[in-house]
Amino acid sequence: MSEIVVDGESLPFTEGQTVAAALVAAGRVAWRTTRVGRRPRGVFCGIGVCFDCLLTIDGAGGQRACLVPARPGMTVTTEEGDDE
């Protein structure tokens, strides 16, 4: 199985899965904190419309986890604590 690195820890995924699918497969449905209410958020619409699943991928912020295919060695940072 291939792996991505999420907040410093390796996470296995099946080639072909998105970053969101890899996280959900590992039991994680939330990885972001909202700006105002500090509430946990993660995958909601699954098709790139709602922007709830944002995280940082290889240094690029504001990425939709449900759209970006996971690739071996990809570095993912969650908990931006911010929508911007």
Partner: protein
Amino acid sequence: MSEPADLLVVGAGPAGMAAAATALAGGLRVVLVDSGAAVGGQYWRHPPAHARAAIPTDDLHHGLRGYRALCEALSAGRAAGRLELRLAHHVWSAVREDDGFAIHVVDRRRAPQETAGVLRAPKLLVATGAYDRQLPFPGWDLPGVLTVGGLQALLKGGGVAAGSRVALGGTGPFLLPVAAALASRGVEVVAVCEAAHPSAWLRHPGPLLRNPRTWAEGAGYATALARRRVRFRPRTAITGAEGGDRVTAVRIASLRPDGSPRPGTERHVEVDAVGVGWGFAPQLDLLVPLGCALTDSADGNAVVVVGGGQRTTVPGLYAAGETCGVGGAALAVGEGRLAAESVLADSGAAPAPGPKRLAGVRSAVARHRAFARALALAHPIPPAWSSWLTDETVVCRCEEVTAGAIRTARAEGGADDHRQVKQLTRAGMGWCQGRMCGPAVHCLTAGQRGYEPAERLVATPVTLGALADLDP
């Protein structure tokens, strides 16, 4: 493809695939663009081609013969050098030019890297489909609460189930395939809460009886669900979700005819994931700024006005599939075919040779449209749905605007549509640009008036860096 294209098709779902295949059969040069990693759209969503063995999903699909035939037609078009297929390309804007259309794309094949580009052709067909329509309820922003389509997309695209004990709720026939798909992957589907009553179907029996294939598909799901002891609960709704870091339970209530919960019927059911959906909302982001006329459809959505040949009110611009009204994959395929036939006729080309005569496609499309209308009338948004909300319920997920704030904007600020609410509260101003909360905010303020979606000039965010690299 070295020569310029005759037709741009945005969206490679059932509608866009059928349109591209038909246009290719008629001899046109086509560019087919989709943001996804594979063709198929929502209905035929698949993992990318190289991952099909590792993520088997064939058993979750219907009509795979039609899908494969379309895939073959597209492959042949590519081999002949007349189809340029651009996957992982997001169209963020479409504009009219003197001699046709230009679409602005971001190439995300190496995401998160992105490259901008422009594609041009004399004719444009928009087949961008739809997304789940949502109604807020207390706790719908808890992790583990997803759209029903989101649950299905994770299953069909990635082979993963988002929970092990799942409740589904909302309205419409789409709840059934998702329940069946989850159950087939060993998920315990604890309830399917359908707000409508099945007897509502009997009010418009004609179109339903004229679509035996749809009956058969429905009966197939009913059998599959009964075998797995999935409880289908008509006239009920998920009126709340509870939990801390993740949903742990839902509240399910029986509904009165107006959709308000019957007092004393509420019960708690433990779950670790929830799927909700109230039909679909057409994805009109590219079409609205192009200036084509919209109209209200039976399900309360704004849809693109098209004539019998799928021509919009803008010359050279065509639409097919759920942008013209939600109606399922078979309708989308038929409309895609009709749209491409119009493109052929308007380009002075001969009709595409094919197994099915055009008149047959037209009558099938008319039948499916009538069926979709009957379904929409049988599965309305319950008029009293907002009685589930408390003042603290988040309505706009992005900007975290509550129902209380929106009610205040209406009562004290005089706001009577989603645009005014946005100015007063920021609802609809965040990342999703009101795609999730728009219909709900509209219902909360404008009552029975038709919903007109906001004009969004950018269909997907694009980085300035990608634009800077763009050749003029």
